[in-house]
Symmetry: C2
Subunit: 217 residues, 2 copies
Amino acid sequence: MAEPGTRERLVDAAIHLLSEGGPDSVQARKLAADVGVSTMAVYTHFGGMGGLVEAVARTGFDRFNTRLAEVPRGTDPVEDLFRLGDAYREYALGSPNLYSVMFGISAPAGHRLAGGDVTSDGPGEHLPEGQEAFGQLETVVSRAMHAGRLRTGDPAAVAGQVWSAIHGYVLLEIAGYFGELGRGMDIVGTPIAINLVIGLGDTGDAARASAQRVWGG
Amino acid sequence: MAEPGTRERLVDAAIHLLSEGGPDSVQARKLAADVGVSTMAVYTHFGGMGGLVEAVARTGFDRFNTRLAEVPRGTDPVEDLFRLGDAYREYALGSPNLYSVMFGISAPAGHRLAGGDVTSDGPGEHLPEGQEAFGQLETVVSRAMHAGRLRTGDPAAVAGQVWSAIHGYVLLEIAGYFGELGRGMDIVGTPIAINLVIGLGDTGDAARASAQRVWGG
DNA sequence: CATTCTTCCATAACGGTGTTATACATGGCC
DNA sequence: GGCCATGTATAACACCGTTATGGAAGAATG
């Protein structure tokens, strides 16, 4: 493999700093010192800290996508959907700061993804890598519809519902609203997965059986 | 009413700046200039920008709680739950930057609520005002259980599921993932509300009827 | 009333941040 | 050799949060 260039080393250092010390420790001077270059490298390669944060989010989504793609697909599409959600949560909780940056939720020193304001369009359309993760959800949802487990409808709309539930749950668990980590999954995470799938057309027995194969209990 | 003191004026100015120019425009110097005092006022009253951000989040939750409390309660607890969710969304979308600060999701110039890192416990336990909003959800959920609309169980656990769904949906809509604002409600927001309630024990007909009274269609 | 103490704020400075202007080094190309 | 493009080091600039210092105003105390 080719020797990593300065650009890649800067992104790696940023991700490392992000996971170690949070968003505030991702600073141009610290990055440059870690990589062994001057702060100018940030500007020749990314045009500024904002561009570097975008690159961080992009590689975060890349790893996220491959992680989701590695989840084995079986014969039960609802079980696959649950496993996908589980991998989603594991990734988000494994690197919560990176996950926050990916969704423009948190950002080093005021360098958000799309403008400084939360409402400026948002990173929704700006990162095609983000759409890819959504596409994986959509595919499994579509399979579940064809298998007769979920009511037939627009897979994108249903995937949006699933995404909302996972995203919200994960963020609240990261923020500590469900007490000690792990406990939230039993009383909120698993139930919301089962209940949403039931509302989407699955039977209670089938949903619980699929969940049991993923989370036990 | 008493003349507002410097402390209240600082918080108001911060909330105003937050909604106008986003988190990055909430700066000690700008706050002081707006109120007509020096930056020292921030330190005598709040100990620093971090304390001011916490005060902002606190008053944000206060307004949030009264807003939710103003939602009229009727005879149909599921309808009430939908109306609560609708008011929740309206508040979050009405002041998305404030909402983000309330949940420690975004913060001016690296001044998060509980430490600089996303994972440092989170603001979950630190803001009792946040628990009050959750309590309002829990009460309505409990009423829906006693009315036979939702399966009997732990109201707090069920409220946690409802909260996850709303929180996730609202954040994704703010981030622009559902296209133009408003459209997301039709294809994702309303369906997830109905489907989650069905999964929690309500019948499809009853859930759709309650939703129809809130959102029409 | 005089004195002291407390509270609050203005001024000015300090350290640290992202950013930028400038100059230099390097390597490919004609 | 001459030339240009690319990437980087240095040093400075503007801005930010923060803090040390001192002063003003009022309450508390004798």
